[in-house]
Symmetry: D2
């Protein structure tokens, strides 16, 4: 018989984690058509079936707090949309492998334990908590730490969701580790549920479907949360820019000359993100078509909608015995899957995966089985 819950661990207790925890709480009392949730059931699981069992961070102000309290600690930008009851899960210290340079160092003071922690410590904690899925929400640029969590997850037999642009599903050696350990892997770089990249690629695809020739385009993004503060530091934003370009390339655009990046920290926006998109194309008789778009979204909840899909897919994939990168769903859920697809095709394969997984195939117990 199937375990009705999904035991989830979170690494990086910032804005995205906050929104995801809140969405999970809200879904317990919501009817079947909750805004921003594409499917009430995935693999037989409702969003409300998520149960948090572990949490990791390096911030001295968060470590030791109940997860419900830690998600409200500054500089978390996520707004409080719903009250979160105590979870009984205390935030553990995680490994600080990349250091805290640039803008981040002004905002975060690491817990003293973090310096000496390693992937092995994470593996142990995951096993102890009997987690089934680990979602990695670390800041962009934390390459070493993200990869350490990925390794720990594979070793513990825990399905891994890489929300960051750091390469995991794009790193052959790590993919092989997940395959060899028989564990599903989803990544890299969580899309916004309805964000700049999704809108941009959908519009490019619309133009292309009409035989229009796309001539010029930009995608400018500004925001006021920690992600944008962190990305104002160009050494940290490199992986983000590369990831955005990959998404455009998958849409059939030669992205070499496309400006698509984080373009500035606008403090007053808080967790809101503003995107300015322009597309100039050529139609019949060489006539110009142009569109200029201003998209405004709340950033962290936008991520929560995708994670609401991803954790249930991860659990379902494990139920079905899938190992390594879960190819049919990653192009829809992530900006940089190992193999990208045009927007509409990515959606089609995702929906197909969800439809045929309407019921969980087998019981799966995650880290607990070790």
């Amino acid at each position: 018989m199937t375990d009705r819950f999904i035991r989830v661990a979170l690494a990086g207790i910032g804005s995205c984690a906050s929104s995801f925890v809140q969405a999970t709480v809200l879904s317990r009392d919501s009817g079947p058509r909750m805004a921003g949730v594409m499917h009430e059931h995935i693999g037989g699981y409702r969003l409300g079936d998520v149960e948090f069992v572990a949490a990791f961070d390096v911030d001295g102000n968060k470590v030791g707090q109940d997860l419900a309290d830690a998600i409200a600690v500054a500089p978390t930008a996520a707004l409080n949309h719903v009250p979160v009851p105590l979870t009984g899960v205390r935030v553990r210290s995680g490994p600080l492998l990349d250091g805290l340079d640039g803008n981040l160092s002004e905002m975060v003071h690491p817990h003293p334990d973090c310096a000496s922690l390693t992937a092995a410590d994470v593996t142990a904690a995951l096993r102890q908590s009997r987690a089934q899925v680990l979602v990695c929400f670390l800041p962009t640029g934390s390459t070493a730490a993200v990869q350490a969590y990925a390794r720990a997850s594979a070793e513990a037999g825990v399905a891994f969701v890489n929300a960051t642009p750091e390469p995991v599903a794009n790193r052959a050696e790590l993919v092989e580790l997940f395959v060899s350990r028989g564990v599903p892997l989803l990544g890299d770089d969580l899309r916004s549920h309805l964000g700049a990249t999704t809108l941009h690629t959908a519009l490019l695809e619309l133009l292309q479907s009409r035989g229009m020739h796309v001539a010029n385009t930009y995608q400018l993004n500004v925001g006021g949360n920690m992600d944008f503060y962190n990305l104002a530091d160009p050494t940290r934003s490199r992986s983000k820019q590369i990831s955005k370009r990959r998404a455009l390339t998958s849409a059939g655009i030669d992205s070499d000359d496309v400006a698509a990046g984080p373009n500035g920290y606008v403090k007053y926006l808080g967790d809101r993100k503003v995107c300015f998109l322009r597309i100039e194309a050529e139609g019949i008789l060489g006539t110009p078509v142009s569109m200029e778009i201003r998209l405004e979204v709340e950033d962290s909840p936008n991520a929560a909608s995708v994670v609401a899909n991803a954790v249930r897919i991860a659990r379902t994939a494990a139920d079905q015995g899938l190992v390594g990168v879960v190819d049919p769903v990653c192009p829809f859920l992530f900006k940089s899957p190992p193999a990208g697809l045009p927007e509409s095709e990515a959606l089609r394969r995702f929906q197909h995966f969800v439809e045929k997984s309407a019921r969980p195939a087998t019981a799966y117990t995650g880290a607990a089985r070790s």
Copy 2:
């Protein structure tokens, strides 16, 4: 053996006709990937296979002119993108059944013959010219004249493309006439190839596919061509507004409260059309998503791209012996088909029709056979 040409008659020699004639001329020298043309072949026909055989108008300055000259007569707003050689087709006077009221009367002085002409005269002219497809480009509000051309077309055995918002494919009596005469019918209200309605419904569908709840939306359109000048007269714009709302309803939006209409004549824009779109939706945790879009297109060429599809579909439908409304293609090509579909489904069925019609099934000779 198949006739390699499509013998086309045009009613209403204004901006749209101008762009369509120009596009046809250009396509004769273009390679396989001409911008704004979705398919090089439809039913075995290239756009360059179109041959003009008849033209109708009421404007005293156009009647009697070669079609190549008439398309350049003021107040035609369409820009000259390519030179058009003489066609040998002289514009005939057409029936003036609705009169010229409001703004139109200042711009157009009808040819004296028009007052007494009827549908029967059009039928005779279509037969004489051996037309296979009649495209109706009359101004919005010319209900009686549009329906007279439709009747004449059915009687002459000529496939009919209703580019106007006046009801033809939505008028049961006329549809029956086409069925009884064994003639294909396409309509009503030509979409722009990439215009406000297409973009609006594509975006609404994108949001809905993500489980977002659309809260508020508007679609405001301004332009500087005769269509907008004519529509500044509210009695003439009624059918246009109804048609725009039908397109939104097909996209799953309760359009009762949606502002979507012609919103003003801005002279300096000439043939350019500017659309302001806004969509406000609700995502996970009740968080707001908003997008504000400014779309600028050249209006008449935008219509030409759709007619480039429609005339070849009409010929192909006749080749295949289809009669009455050509259901699989109308939701993609028109704003107000008898039965609308969501954007992506409309595209899918259109593409499917085109794919399976890769070769013409049978010879067809249109009006000539009578």
Copy 3:
């Protein structure tokens, strides 16, 4: 000694009246820098010195109600920003001289008394209430009624503020009446405090001050209150369009070809108004400069800010014995003053008038003196 109050009568108890009454209430408890109020004192008067003494409307649902209740009766779009205590002033029925045609007739059912009332009845009511200033907020298109209120006001010796685009300050005969009766007059067509016309003319002036040549411009306005519902009826919107063009002409723009008008009713906006402005100009070396602006304001409060200036100016003008049109202030407060000025000069003269009126010159008692 000066009367410390301004005894105000209102004609047309709709959205603008609501916002003005609310602003007056709020100002009683506000400090010196209340947002949207340019001057704490004008002629020695604070906004909180306004006292309402009479109110007129034709709506059967408003007549007989206390002013505080009537301002909340549908279809008033103004939002309730502050609670309004009972005023002790009951709305009287006013003359219905223009009838209620078009869209208005669906929304308003006139009180039976209105049909027989005349300007003389208004004069009597103004005298009885000892009003000092009458502000006319009637709907656009009510030419006869507006001019009747103006006449009544002049006859009663009450300073008149014409917030509507109907000609009063632009009607020589009425101006003479105010002069002959020794009464100040302000009008026509209240500007928004910060609305489309103000922003448009300020930007045009900015470009001109730099020697740029303005080539093309539009100003498109949509909104969701009764004003926009009413203006969707083209016979009623004529005076509004003429007034907007006058404002542009004063800014040195040849407004013949400028699209500047009410462009649609967008229900969900309620009392919000959205303006799309575009200016294209030519700079050095013939290079293009373009700006595209989206301005969003709350419509009725925007009017309240200007009325907050106008009623105090009207009282001050009466204190100073000024008669007829108060020329130095009208170009700043109204779109169609008898003689317009460029934006910056209009502001300069208004500010100068306020500065030199820092103290009221003489006592003035308005209608009470008759």
Copy 4:
């Protein structure tokens, strides 16, 4: 008797220099109302009175070329609007004191002479050329070189226009040098003639004049010329951001939290610059006012319009015997004058200076007198 010409030297032969040279050429044949030129005469001089006598650069591809050819050498983004006849002035090598780091180093290969040149060499060249005004157009971040040119200019008795954001007019020691040598100085950081900062401050001033409280604002700038490529390097953009904030502070805005900077390099824009401005303010009853603006300008010509004012002011100031910073004009012409002013006041003082300088007071011969 007055010398009818202004003998101008240019340092930094990039896009701005190109547009300025072109504008000078065009003005020789233009009538009195040339677009983008505020005043036909300043101090008795027409723009066509400018004569180029010296030019400096470090780029090996420009040194030794005639100025007319050098302004067309890549990576100059300025468009060719008018043909420029040979000037007879060859570009000299200038001192390379800051090196070429970051993005610049990929684009520019310095002439071998540059490494050893010093301010003294520039002084000698200025004397030899008998220049009267030196305009410094070096890239942002070239602090040492800009200050060396300033010193050289003062020593040679040549009026100096600092178009860069590097501190000259804001460096006490340099200002004293100009005073002690009896030479006028204009700076720092040329405004665009009609650019983001001017529009931003004008709008903020408009809102403030109406008593609105500005709550939030941003100013985002992207472009495709060398300036934006250079500024994508954050170490070089620091002085630019500081300068933009100073301009906002002068407009009465607490600029600490205002995002206003260079926000990205968008290659396809070439010399065009796009600015996204947003202002959110609070009006009466606490109601929101928001404006979102997209401004598009051609960057280099925009600078040329200001230099067209500045070089004539510099010559006029020298004619009048003014020394050190020319206070009345700098707040209008520069983003970071030593003492900023609100937009309208800056304009007023500039216009006043121009009016009272309608005729040159005395002859002045610049570097030639030494």
